[in-house]
Symmetry: C2
Subunit: 228 residues, 2 copies
DNA sequence: TTATGGATTTGTGTATACACTAATTGACAT
DNA sequence: ATGTCAATTAGTGTATACACAAATCCATAA
């Protein structure tokens, strides 16, 4: 595992800062769930794994603390941010509201080109659902939402929305594997697309909020099933 | 100037990490406008100013990059994030939408205690307006909005809202000094409070959005006056 | 056997030293 | 006089070394 990741890091060995590459690698590992919440993150150990010294590793870790993916644990080293179910639900709710806000603005502001691109994406997702290809749908889903962010024509808002979304990626993937959630997800997208087509931003926002909260509910069911 | 800031840092010399104290100091200086956008941030120079080595300074700077207050400028050192008028307006719009979202949720969720605290704060702000005390009103304003964040009972959302808000603090102060903006600001708060009292979250949200956008307009007028 | 105190160990926090890149300046040639 | 190329320099990026704090473990005593 460590070797695989090392290679992945080395692959983009060009120009970039070592600390940046380490940060990106750790971000991916946390987002993907490869590094589970609560794991201790020891500087020297990570330095060995990435073939670097403690300095860039430490820099990467402190940056991850700022972005909320890692927690400082006094002097007892850093750990992958451990989130309570309540916190996760708070994050999903926030994400739902932010996404609703974005789609409302996007509906009113998107260019015809952006609208057609979104339709294209949405149409293509149908066969992913029928193939039950979770990974492909997950990737599409990301693209779909990012397309909406951009269509707000507010780059700062787009960045904020993206940031919130990326913090939930690990959970989103989990949730998508639940039952027929993928199909329902696409149906909800369909309803949103319709509102966008009609230029009704408020409806699009309501439907988007419901869509995100449904995803949260699916995740909660999953968590409850596993824990209770 | 440098000495004053140094003292301010030393004042809270207890326990905290050097890099954290430097980061906080720099954050304050950027937020207050003492460090103007575009200023070069040289590591050794800052290290000398804070009586530290480059290591904690560098750590602080890289953290500020993540939180968006500082920009990397290739190899030519870091600079205080230079924001275009468009970007500032994007940030204000985002802030407006986020605040609207918060007040809507807060209206539906706040406890009687939270409501009474908010009313108390609002009432107290009247004499600040009449004394035309910009600093006091600025401090109150911060407290007022933070109170609303907390009343959403969503700690993650509260943090995000706070984060966006803090990035605009330098501009907000500027804007408040414009004409009779303070009085108008308080009138707008009053309208928001009324909607909250009536439990009408949607109206509170609309009024909050308008309130924030008015602040942005006041700032834009100020910018246009100075530049054009 | 258990509690207490110190020694050891482990790992963070900071400083310093070194490497490398890029920019600037000066010299030389046209 | 001006353009180009090389040398110097200034400053970032990384590594290593050292300081300090906390936690654990072992020995000793009650």
């Amino acid at each position: 595992m460590a070797e695989v990741l090392k290679v992945a890091v080395d692959a983009e060995d060009d120009g970039g800062l070592l600390s940046d590459r380490i940060r990106n690698a750790l971000t991916d590992e946390i987002a993907s769930g490869a590094l589970v919440a609560g794991s201790a993150l020891e500087e020297q150990q990570l330095a060995d794994r990435f073939g670097a010294s403690r300095t860039p590793v430490r820099e990467a870790l402190r940056q991850l603390v700022v972005s909320g993916l890692v927690e400082v644990r006094g002097r007892r080293g850093l750990v992958v941010a451990r989130m309570t179910p309540e916190r996760i639900m708070d994050m999903f709710e926030t994400s739902a509201e932010v996404e609703a806000m974005c789609v409302r603005l996007a509906t009113y502001r998107m260019t015809p080109l952006e609208r057609s691109h979104l339709i294209e994406l949405h149409d293509a997702s149908l066969q992913m659902v029928e193939a039950n290809d979770v990974d492909a749908y997950d990737a599409f889903n990301r693209e779909f939402h990012e397309c909406i962010y951009r269509a707000t024509h507010n780059s700062f808002l787009a960045e904020q929305a993206q940031d919130v979304r990326s913090r939930l990626s690990a959970f989103r993937r989990t949730q998508l594997r639940q039952g027929d959630r993928i199909r329902k997800s696409r149906d909800e997208h369909d309803a949103i697309m319709q509102a966008i087509a009609e230029g009704d931003g408020e409806t699009a926002a309501r439907r988007m909020r419901a869509h995100m909260l449904n995803a949260a509910s699916a995740l909660r069911r999953y968590i409850d099933d596993r824990l209770g």
